[in-house]
């Protein structure tokens, strides 16, 4: 069974991506053996307040048991507690995603401290969206960069008692972060090199990797085949495919 931790609903204005309805996304992922997916709404990336998109997400996924909504919160907005209230009330999932670069703040700011403290108090998991796409050839007008590895490291060190899932890390970034930070998980979407899964399982604790398809940005089958065709131990395969995601998200 595959659990996808990196899938999206909603529109992306900068490329020809397929905009799935919740039912279409379930059918599409199911066709590729993905039984459950943690999804966010891309409308929350660019709009000044993520909550309208989060409400759409919660409504769209209400009747889709295979989709687990993961709201996007902007902790720099004055109403971040209200955002958390709504997100936690509307979903069984105890996790929120933040997008520091798309929401114009640094992971190193101390303004995140009360937000993180509140997450810990409520028992809510934190997910950091590091990148959505390859910046080399995306829409020229979009200047937002990926979350810098150094800032992620500082954040992880500052909150060393907290496990954080980073979505969209590359293999070199995982390698660098692993040197100083034992408290992060990574998804598989942007990790690529020949035999990437085998390499990753040899270098990085297997309990800290979760499957991510990056649908609809990526061809879902390509992301799935990367994992299912890899020569992994049964333990690593199960961990990457579902066990780690189940544990992290309490699914």
């Amino acid at each position: 069974m595959l659990i996808d931790t990196n899938a999206h609903l909603g529109p992306w204005p900068f490329s020809h991506l397929t905009e799935y309805s919740a039912a279409e996304l379930v059918a599409h992922l199911g066709k590729h053996g993905i039984a459950q997916a943690v999804v966010s709404h891309l409308g929350a990336v660019f709009q000044p307040d993520p909550m309208p998109a989060n409400r759409l997400l919660l409504a769209a996924t209400r009747r889709q048991a295979a989709l687990v909504p993961m709201p996007i919160v902007n902790p720099m907005l004055a109403n971040w507690r209200e955002q958390l209230d709504l997100c936690c009330a509307g979903t069984a999932l105890r996790a929120v995603k933040i997008l520091p670069n798309y929401h114009n703040y640094s992971l190193t700011t101390s303004r995140l401290d009360p937000f993180v403290a509140e997450l810990k108090k409520r028992g809510v998991r934190l997910v950091i969206g590091v990148r959505f796409e390859d910046v080399r050839h995306r829409y020229f007008g979009l200047r937002i960069k990926c979350v810098p590895q150094a800032a992620i490291a500082k954040f992880l060190q500052r909150h060393a008692d907290m496990q954080v899932l980073c979505l969209g890390l590359s293999l070199p970034e995982v390698r660098e972060l692993a040197k100083t930070c034992p408290n992060f998980l990574t998804d598989t979407a942007f990790i690529e090199w020949i035999k990437s899964m085998e390499v990753l399982s040899g270098e990085f604790p297997i309990e800290r990797v979760v499957f991510g398809s990056q649908t609809p940005f990526f061809v879902t089958r390509a992301s799935v085949d990367k994992l299912t065709m890899a020569q992994l131990s049964a333990k690593a395969r199960a961990a990457y495919s579902s066990v780690n995601a189940q544990r992290f998200f309490s699914l």
Binding site: H32, H137, F190, D225
Partner: protein
């Protein structure tokens, strides 16, 4: 289905110098359904502008790869057009016994540059395809030496008797596909970049399935992903066969 991968680097950044490594690379490909691979050489081993001696070393190593596994690898001759007409012609001549099936160009210069003329004349004379590294230079400000899809398209238009392969469909982007549209002697390879959705279908729609050919860019990428992005796109059986097999057979004269 045994696909042909038109864009690989079995020797890459000074790795792959033993027969064992080359055999393992081939076994990896076979296990993923790749019947044959084009070996393009360790093109960045000495930086972007290698001298004649370095070019010769890279081509000798490609020839060694093919000698080790002639059943699997097809070699391309790597050239640096900025070394001048004599150096280009000398290297093409020197490599003739190797039986290379194409010429490979990287980032020594832009494909618009006048120094391309000897390369293209050699390609025309020997009836060899030219595989030109290409990437959108919209965000990467290196166009003085790094080829944009518009430059590769111009190259193909200037030399209509030479089969040109524009590398890296995803890096060339939707704009790159439109640059390539309507140029009979130009095909785009699918190598490189992440498996971004919908661009392959867009390329098939605008260029036709005869003008898109499978490539991976191994070992920078992996076959499960590069094949998965083809097999997971909305292509007909006939289109799949062209992209994965018959276009490469035509280009490589297999």
């Amino acid at each position: 289905m045994q696909a042909i991968d038109i864009h690989t680097h079995p020797v890459f950044l000074h790795k792959g110098y033993s027969k064992k490594e080359i055999d393992e690379f081939a076994s990896y490909g076979t296990a993923h359904g790749i019947g044959r691979m084009v070996a393009l050489g360790d093109v960045l081993a000495y930086g972007r502008n290698p001298n004649a001696k370095q070019i010769a070393a890279i081509n000798d190593q490609t020839a060694q790869v093919v000698r080790w596994r002639p059943d699997y690898y097809i070699g391309f001759c790597y050239l640096n057009p900025t070394l001048g007409a004599k150096a280009v012609e000398r290297e093409v001549e020197r490599c003739a016994p190797y039986g290379f099936r194409g010429l490979k160009l990287e980032v020594a210069n832009n494909a618009r540059d006048a120094c391309m003329a000897p390369v293209m004349r050699a390609a025309e004379r020997l009836n060899l395809p030219v595989l030109q590294h290409s990437w959108s230079m919209t965000n990467i400000k290196q166009r003085s030496f790094h080829t944009d899809p518009a430059d590769t398209a111009l190259l193909a238009r200037r030399y209509p008797n030479v089969q040109v392969i524009m590398a890296h469909l995803t890096g060339c982007g939707f704009r790159g596909v439109l640059e390539a549209k309507g140029i009979e002697n130009l095909v785009v390879d699918t190598s490189g970049a992440f498996p971004e959705a919908n661009i392959l279908e867009y390329a098939i729609e605008h260029l036709g399935a005869d003008h898109v050919v499978y490539g991976s860019d191994l070992p920078i990428r992996e076959s499960s992903v590069t094949l998965g992005r083809i097999l997971g796109s909305k292509l007909s059986e006939s289109e799949l066969k062209k992209v994965l097999i018959t276009n490469a057979q035509r280009i490589l004269k297999l």
